[in-house]
């Protein structure tokens, strides 16, 4: 059941504004940091490109861009955890 755009803004604008500023502050924090960043920052910047898309599939596109696109099982599990971005993209 779709809401009007005004209803969406009433419900979610302040929350989205807060998250937008958090992302800006996060990128500033990374800039001020020392040493090298890793593949996660590149993946994050790539994923942000999808925010400018014109279709209401941005969440899906961001998730896809942060995903491992390969199809073959790996030989052995490299530990148990996940980090939120696929290290192979820049390789």
């Amino acid at each position: 059941m779709p809401m009007t755009r005004a209803q969406v803004l009433d419900l979610y604008y302040m929350d989205a504004r807060c998250k937008l500023i958090e992302i800006a502050a996060f990128l500033d924090r990374v800039d001020r940091g020392t040493g090298e960043a890793d593949f996660r920052l590149d993946a994050f910047r790539d994923a942000m490109q999808h925010l400018a898309g014109g279709e209401p599939r941005r969440a899906e596109e961001v998730l896809r861009s942060l995903s491992d696109p390969t199809e073959v099982p790996v030989d052995k599990a490299p530990g148990k955890g996940a980090v939120g971005a696929w290290p192979g993209r820049g390789a």
Binding site: M1, Q7, L63, L66, S67, V74, D75, K76, A77, K80
Partner: protein, 268 residues
């Protein structure tokens, strides 16, 4: 309101959480077998865990008048050791007839490795041989999309598996459609940081319909909220959903899926 928590790891929660859930309208809780935060060293460690899930935890929930159900398996995080997994699968049939056991779960993949896949196939075979429902965990974060595709292939390749008797959990915007298109049920996990927030879960319901979807808190010992389902029901109400439409998602849908197991009783 009434709701069912179809995926809660209650062994890692306090009795205060039981009290809060029942106060908020929880009518039944279902607990899949999962990783304990460390690798168990022997099959006897799993036997004790299965006793905890089928004996102790239902008794703890009963103190609050809450029916407790469970799913049994060895979690994908412990599936690199195929020999241990095979021993654990060997003891599961001892527990399958116990009251409250819903089926095999939460099986699936974690890092999408060959051994995890092998152990997943063994679980699917066990479920097929014993005519059990299946609850599937899909991997985290960057591994989810690939893992979901691999899992769907395993299920499709076993001709004995009826898709409507399998629920694939932890779907997000990029995996929900393929799961539903394969004829399975899909679960959305409401987490504060990873997986779905309440707002995104309601978006997914808006876009994909609520026919074969349920929501869960998956509350465990990590950052998670045992009251995530009633909070999401509140989100639905703020977005104009009727009480009947909310009830269909948070109560009637889990009942429809779980009633395929003869040991599941409709909560009074």
């Amino acid at each position: 309101m009434r709701y069912i928590e179809p995926h809660g790891h209650m062994v890692s929660r306090t009795t205060d959480d039981y009290l809060d859930m029942v106060t908020a309208g929880c009518a039944a809780v279902c607990e899949p077998a999962f990783w304990a935060g460390f690798d168990r060293g022997s099959v006897d460690g799993f036997r004790d865990y299965f006793r905890q899930l089928t004996e102790y935890e239902p008794a703890r929930a009963a103190k609050y008048g809450l029916p407790h159900y469970c799913w049994l398996c060895i979690n994908p995080k412990e599936s690199e050791d195929v020999a241990l997994a095979s021993d654990v699968l060997g003891i599961i049939p001892e527990f399958l007839g116990r009251p409250g056991v819903l089926g095999i779960g939460e099986i699936g993949l974690n890092k999408n490795s060959r051994n995890e896949l092998r152990v997943l196939e063994m679980h699917v075979d066990l479920a097929a041989r014993h005519d059990q429902l299946i609850l599937v965990h899909t991997p985290h974060l960057e591994d989810k999309l690939k893992g979901t595709r691999l899992i769907l292939d395993v299920l499709k390749n076993d001709r004995r598996i009826r898709p409507e008797r399998v629920l694939i959990d932890h779907v997000e915007e990029h995996t929900v459609r393929i799961v539903l298109d394969h004829g399975h049920w899909a679960g959305m996990t409401l987490y504060p940081i990873s997986k779905c927030t309440p707002a995104r879960a309601v978006d997914i319901l808006d876009v994909h319909g609520s026919d074969r979807l349920w929501m869960n808190s998956a509350c465990d010992w990590g950052e998670s909220v045992p009251l995530a389902i009633p909070r999401t029901a509140l989100e639905m109400r703020r977005r104009g959903w009727s009480a009947e439409a909310i009830d269909r998602v948070v109560f009637q849908n889990p009942v429809r899926f779980l009633c395929q197991c003869p040991r599941f009783r409709l909560p009074a």
